[in-house]
């Protein structure tokens, strides 16, 4: 891997972004990479927009991805993808978007999924819309597993340059025992999709 790989995860407080971020950092370490992440706590987690950064590669300095510098943006809620456009660019960015909408309070005009994808396509080489929350809710009864499902999806499509096995090892390490089996299932669900 020549350059560092830069990931942004966006979503809404409570969707498990911080766990996903840990899993990715641990998986990168398992493969011998240097890795850094950046996250926010407290007020930022209270149901508002949340964003984490993960960078891995040979020598990682900044924990923050810069404007236009993301290789992959995982959006756990479709409208939150718009918040991450800042990090996208036409020549390098993949957008992986959960086809899930959480309404925004107040009288603000919300964009439809179609309009959102039209925007992300301007800031990415490819935008993929995956009904991850729907699938994990249907198959496993819990939409919070959508993040792990998308991670599996991105690794198997070789969008993230890490081995599925490393991610599984990281999941085993990071996720508490009582939720482990469910998360492993969510990771495997993405297989063949």
């Amino acid at each position: 891997m020549q350059k560092n790989f830069n990931i942004i995860i966006t979503g809404v407080g409570g969707q498990g972004l911080i766990t996903l971020t840990r899993v990715l950092a641990e998986a990168a370490l398992i493969e011998g990479h240097d890795a850094k992440t950046s996250e926010l706590h407290g007020l930022s987690q209270r149901g508002g927009s949340v964003e984490t950064h993960i960078v891995f590669g040979k020598d990682v300095f900044s924990p923050l991805v810069k404007k236009g510098g993301a290789d992959l943006i995982i959006s756990l809620e479709a409208q939150e993808a718009l918040n991450a456009l800042y990090y996208g660019s036409k020549n390098r960015t993949w957008f992986l978007i959960d086809k899930f909408l959480k309404p925004i309070s107040g009288n603000q005009k919300e964009l439809s999924i179609k309009e959102i994808i039209r925007e992300t396509e301007r800031f990415s080489k490819e935008s993929l819309l995956v009904p991850a929350s729907e699938i994990t809710k249907k198959e496993l009864g819990n939409p919070v597993l959508a993040g792990i499902f998308l991670l599996g999806y991105a690794v198997r499509k070789k969008i993230i340059p890490l081995k599925p096995d490393s991610i599984l090892k990281a999941i085993t390490k990071v996720i508490p025992e009582k939720y482990l089996a469910l998360n492993q299932k969510a990771f495997d669900l993405s297989f063949g999709r």
């Binding site: 370490l29 850094k36 992440t37 950046s38 706590h41 149901g47 404007k67 718009l82 660019s89 603000q108």
Partner: protein, 561 residues
């Protein structure tokens, strides 16, 4: 979490900056830790809370940061190694004790952690740069950049503290405290030495005329520490070879800014000499003077206020008056204008450093030009089923909001400032809603409802309540008792019956304290009983004395933890 207790020297694990501070303290044989929770420093206390008994360390959540610092000092006076952690505003609270503490100095190593929050990601009030306390208190201050440095600097801080008998401060910012990265473990063994306080009023009683001698001794200590700082490898010059020197452009950076500088130079393929300052105070003035002597242009990158910039401008006047210094100072006479190329408001980002370095070096950087679309913004809000919804709902039914002034503070209830509630007409630090309410009612006779959280009540609400009773005004104070310190991650407080180490303890009743403060109009209401709550608000607003309603219902997370 248990990984932090591993005793495998050389093993690499991933830790947050805050967790790395915990590990650094453990590797230094820390015995006594105290804190009051505050983002972005909360994980230091949270981590100790989980591991303290296993690690053989005493840990407590103190009632506020000043008390936390005092108890940690007491441990240090008794020859234990102690650490106290707080967010930026916590240091303001603790500063009354901090300043004389640095005069007297300490006995066991004592390390103070403060975490600033550039961009106010999790902070109301202000974008404070706590480094100013280094000047105010003459406290040696270190600024780590990475989790590895958080660990290493904590160990160094303990060594320096014990050697020079002075507390040492570590200043983090959000992107350091909540940055995770690879950390190489060192040795950790339980420190089982017992503490003993040996009477020594010569050191510990800060009374004149002795206090002036202490001031003198402190200044001497700082000059010794400056000599250490001059030689210390945490103030390091990179790319200092002749070829790089020919560039005539140099960078001085500290904390997270150093990582942005390194990242950007890698991307732009630049190799300007960089002086990374691990010490903020005392500064290695000779090292800085040497570094800038032959430069034509200097870029100074630091998070929040341009303190380094001001210091270095003074040094440059002596050593290199022609040097063009670029940074963030908007000061009209020293800098500013075309040399002000970094923002003074908000946090720094790698792309800002990128822009600054392209300006200085003439290198081109192609940034995408597409315009971002307008899109709706999601604001923070109370969790689903949060009991606070019911309080603010009831208030709107009890009074016409335009007829009443609403006072708030920091904590989850500050989100009442946002739509759909819009029920905070002023909002400052913990305890202040009550103090300000008294001032307004005294000055105007207008009706004021002041919201104070349960943890905030213990933290700083009580003196303000006593004041309002004593000085005869009549605000209605609503104590938002959700049985936890919710916003910072559900830490216990004196009303909860659990200590920071998970032991059972007495649960102080807020109503007992309120009564003892002389309040006659008091009701304790579960806000699910909306009609009762509304009736109480209406009734109490008509009173001529202070009234208190304790709205008691636990946070939705309390029983899940």
């Amino acid at each position: 979490m248990e990984e932090i207790l591993l005793n495998q020297v050389g093993k690499k694990i991933i830790l947050l900056g805050n967790e790395a501070i915990v590990r650094g303290a453990l590797e230094s044989g820390v015995q006594f830790v105290s804190t009051y929770p505050g983002t972005p420093a909360s994980e230091i206390g949270n981590t100790f809370s989980k591991i303290a008994s296993k690690a053989g360390v005493y840990f407590e959540f103190s009632t506020n940061e000043k008390v936390a610092m005092e108890v940690a000092a007491g441990a240090s006076f008794s020859n234990l190694r102690s650490l106290v952690a707080m967010k930026s505003f916590g240091l303001n609270v603790a500063s009354d004790f901090l300043i004389p503490l640095v005069y007297s100095g300490v006995r066991g190593g004592m390390v103070i952690i403060t975490a600033d929050d550039p961009n106010c990601w999790s902070s109301a009030q202000s974008e404070e740069d706590s480094r100013v306390f280094a000047y105010l208190a003459h406290i040696p201050t270190l600024e780590p950049s990475t989790p590895q440095e958080c660990k290493d600097f904590t160990k160094l801080a303990f060594e320096l503290s014990e050697k020079y008998k002075i507390p040492v401060m570590i200043r983090e910012t959000t992107r350091v405290a909540l940055q995770s990265g690879v950390v190489k473990l060192g040795e950790f063994k339980k420190n089982e030495e017992k503490g003993e306080f040996i009477k020594n009023p010569h050191q510990f009683s800060t009374m004149p005329p002795r206090v002036l001698e202490m001031h003198q001794e402190l200044l001497e200590k700082i000059e010794k520490l400056r000599e250490f700082s001059e030689k210390s490898s945490i103030n390091k010059i990179q790319n200092g070879n002749a070829k790089a020197q020919n560039s005539k452009i140099g960078i001085i950076a500290s904390g997270i800014s150093y990582l942005y500088a390194k990242e950007v130079m890698k991307e732009l393929n630049l190799s300007f000499p960089v002086l990374k300052l691990g010490f903020f105070y005392p500064l290695p003035e000779k090292k800085i003077a040497e570094f800038i002597r032959n430069l034509k242009k200097l870029l100074i990158i630091e998070e929040l206020d341009p303190y380094l910039e001001k210091e270095i401008k003074i040094l440059a006047k002596e050593t290199n008056p022609q040097l063009q210094i670029f940074g963030k100072s908007s000061h009209q006479y020293i800098g500013g204008g075309d040399k002000n190329i970094l923002p003074e408001v908000g946090e720094l980002r790698p792309e800002y450093v990128m822009e600054a370095l392209t300006k200085l070096s003439g290198k081109k950087w192609k940034i995408r030009e597409e315009k971002l679309p307008a899109f709706p913004k999601r604001l923070p809000q109370f969790c689903p089923n949060c009991p606070y919804w019911l309080v603010f709902g009831a208030i709107k039914r009890a009074v016409k909001p335009e007829k009443v002034i609403f006072g708030g503070e920091i904590g989850c209830y500050m989100m009442a400032a946002l739509p759909p509630h819009n029920l905070q007409d002023y909002l400052y630090c913990m305890g202040s809603s009550v103090g300000v309410a008294h001032g307004i009612t005294k000055s105007t006779g207008q009706k004021v409802i002041s919201f104070v959280g349960d943890s905030s009540f213990f933290h700083a609400g009580i003196p303000a309540l006593i004041n309002a009773v004593y000085n005869k005004s009549n605000p209605l104070i609503i104590v938002m008792d959700n049985s936890t310190t919710a916003m910072t991650g559900h830490q216990p407080h004196p009303g909860v019956g659990k200590t920071g180490m998970g032991e059972e303890t007495v649960s102080l009743k807020i109503e007992d304290i309120v009564r003892a403060c002389g309040v006659k109009n008091l009701k304790i209401i579960d806000q699910q009983n909306q009609e009762e709550f509304i009736k109480a608000v209406k009734e109490f607003l008509e009173k001529d004395e202070v009234s208190v309603i304790i709205a008691r219902f636990p946070c939705v997370f309390v029983n899940k933890k």
